[in-house]
């Protein structure tokens, strides 16, 4: 298949690149250097590659780069930096919610997708929201605590 010129707006920066349109968004993002988007299965089983595409959290391994043309993409790295982290990034760091960290960016994207429309989730709603993100290290308890704690902080501070 012939490469096509595709425009991707990623974390506020615009990339105009030649891509095979049948390439996945996951591979396109990683090739462009957005390596915080992790590859765990390439089948939509693990959620490590979750990103926002036009405000909706998607598994980037299940989206073709061509489908994302002109799309607004936000990855976990686009949410904050170590100097100015997003409240979810702070809460994950402080709650012991990060062990190997490989699931973390995708997990944070799914958690933000929940808080965007449900600022005061129950534990069950959090479990449901991250059910597509596998974590093999933590047993999830501290991740759920982290999302609760971020929700409280965001509510109090009006952030996010």
């Amino acid at each position: 298949m012939k490469p096509q010129m595709i425009t991707l707006h990623i974390n506020g920066r615009t990339h105009y690149v030649a891509l095979n349109p049948n390439q996945t968004l996951l591979v396109a993002l990683r090739d462009l250097g957005y390596t915080d988007v992790k590859c765990g299965c390439e089948k939509g089983d693990c959620g490590a590659c979750a990103v926002f595409l036009n405000g909706v959290a998607v598994n980037s391994c299940l989206v073709l780069a061509g489908q994302a043309d002109e799309g607004e993409i936000l990855t976990a790295a686009g949410l904050g930096t170590s100097e100015h982290p997003h409240p979810l990034q702070t809460a994950f760091s402080d709650a012991g919610a990060i062990q190997c960290g490989y699931c973390t960016p995708g997990m944070i994207v799914s958690a933000k997708a929940l808080l965007d429309h449900k600022p005061h989730p129950t534990d069950t709603e959090i479990r449901d929201a991250i059910s597509g993100n596998l974590c093999r290290c933590t047993g999830y308890a501290q991740i759920i605590q982290a999302v609760q704690s971020a929700a409280e902080k965001m509510d109090a501070g009006g952030e996010g």
């Binding site: 390596t35 299965c41 949410l79 702070t90 760091s93 190997c100 308890a141």
Partner: protein
Amino acid sequence: MKYQVKPLPQVDLPELRTVGKPLRKVDAMGKAVGDTVYAGDYSMPRMLYGKVFRSNQSSARITRLDVSKARALTGVACVITGFDVPNARLVSDMPGQTGQKQRAGSDVPVLASEQVRFYGEPIALVAAETPEIADKALSLIEIDYEPLPGVYDPLEAMKPGAPIVTPPDNIVARWKIRKGDVESGFEQAELIVENTFRIPYQEHAYLEPEAGVAWIDERGAITIRVSTQVVEHFRTIARAVGVRQNKIHIQGTMVGGGFGGKEDITIEIYLALLAKHTARPVKMVYTREESFLAHAKRHPYIIKHRTGVKNNGLITASKIEMISDSGAYPYLSPYVLLYTTVMAPGPYRINNVQVDAISVATNNPYTSAFRGFGGPQACFAYEQQMDDIARQLDLDPLEVRKVNYLRTGDLTATGQVIESAAWLEETATRAMAALGEQTPDYGSVKIGQGFASYFQSYGRITWMHDTSQAWVGLELDGTVTIRAGVPDLGAGQANSLCQIAAEVLGVPLERVTIYTTDSALTPLSGTSTATRQLYMSGNAALMAATAVRNVLLNRASKYFEEDIEALDIADGKAFIKSDPSQTLDLVDLAKMCASEGMHLSNLALFKAPFTDPINPETGQGQVFPDFTFGSFAVEVAVDTETGEVTVLKAAACHDIGRAINRAAAEGQIIGGGMQGLGYGLMENLIVKDGVIKTPSLTEYLIPTSMDYPDIQAIILESGTGLGPFGAKGIGEPSLTPAAPAAASAIANALGVSIPEIPITPEKILAALERA
């Protein structure tokens, strides 16, 4: 509440400033914001992409291998077969092994050239300009096989006339324990209980598939940036590739989950060969399916228990037979088998013990290290056996255990004295208490509660003479640098060293930076395996930091004109304990020391206890430095119509000696417990004729956030461990008791036990049918 909680003895642990606090780990924020560069995230200029060509046969002779078309493809830089690298072999009989015949030729060929012994065995390597060209090259490799008879059941593999996987026979390892006299023990018994337990494979399913990049640097050293639990593999790689040991440089990355699956050499050997043959950087990243095929699994076991008991539950004799399936190559099977052998009788004081354990070669996927290293298999069997003894004697499960639980000063089955606290009843009663009142049955749903206790070693086998090094230095701005070759798997291996150094040198954790996991540039700290890093490298960091502290206190003592004992360091200042307003900033103190030529850094080497090997005929002797003790409790709801199991509550209580970072310790307890629940109830690796039929996360299911409730983590601190500040290890022990606890709860609900995990709905319905 079912049981009275056993009170703890009085323990006076000194109050510490940094150690024990649930501080933010030093590696956490980098991971949260996506700054951490994992092995697969790294790229080099002019980089090639490597791929592995694998066997699609479980047992066959290779009659023709033709890679000429693949080599001729435009964009292919090289194709390597076993004929190109005849000496590339990985030795899997580790030194120090005793009681074993020398298994000539049982080491692993890096690339099979004459015979394949398992499905997925590597045969050729390709490096090409793009991953797509590398894939195309794989499809152009021509191979013919002559199928050979295979053997896929360890019991069949032991029979005369069975196909031999590697000559001379299929017995890979054998261990024995002979303690006391089991026959007279059985004569004293008032009841003899016999059971056979079957324990399955488990797949690590770390989220990060194997990945790395290798290149040749300006020294001519093959540099390998890879996700590994063991940077010391540089020695084995040097031998296999045919270069000097100081020309292999491993730069370990943050590991995206290991759990033992990145303990054996993974892709680093292929990267080294491809970089050497092409003189270009080469990257290799496994797909999930290839990861399933390529790395070891947890050993399946068949374990038979025959136990003699008095009517009060006191064990008079324990006779245990164990068979493990090592798959096609030994890898760490002899060692895993030793662990299972030593832990076979459980944390019980038994005078008459006989254990016979065998590891058998088959043409199945090879098996090696997985969190717990043989301990979880032993625990599933001994705890189900204890429950059955209780059932047959009509006693409570705790009563039977109480009369047998090991105590400090008792001997294990191999005659090793338990020197540290052995809080078994203490942990069991707390874990059960945490479940609270049992939920009542409803309709076809039966509720049950159960628990399991365990003991599990931390630290390596003592006759392997384990050591670890760490370097700690104070910089002139009052910050602290640590250098240690520790691979960080996410369990807090690096962070623990930082909290220890921060404690000793009296600085906030934010002032400590650690450089890790480099076989050439950081002092070797040994493997991140065997629950040894906190114990070993933690002690090395403690020694090094203490040496630097002593230099500082010596100089401060002159400054204050006070004895060293009168001084302390905290919050970046030295001060007089009796008059804390008199301070000396660490920056000024460091400058004083430096200008006077005093040594502000220290490289320490910590040695574990060194012992001789155990007696191979009796298994008597010390095997491990020490043990962790604990218990796990589960409440389940079992639908007797559908066989469906719902875990309603779970609690884990472990004596971890001393928490270095409380949140990280809880993370180990909860995360390990979850892996153990998955192992007991859900994870099902299906292998038929040596072929893994479930090689993806769609087919091999691991626990999601919806499957189990939060595991309550209860940390006890006896302060009696051999690690820094009295810490014990918890990384692996956390997994061990979860599966048997779940099985115990199901048996409690149904009144019938199922001696085989995973306990699936099908097995429950079949057991109810039989009952």
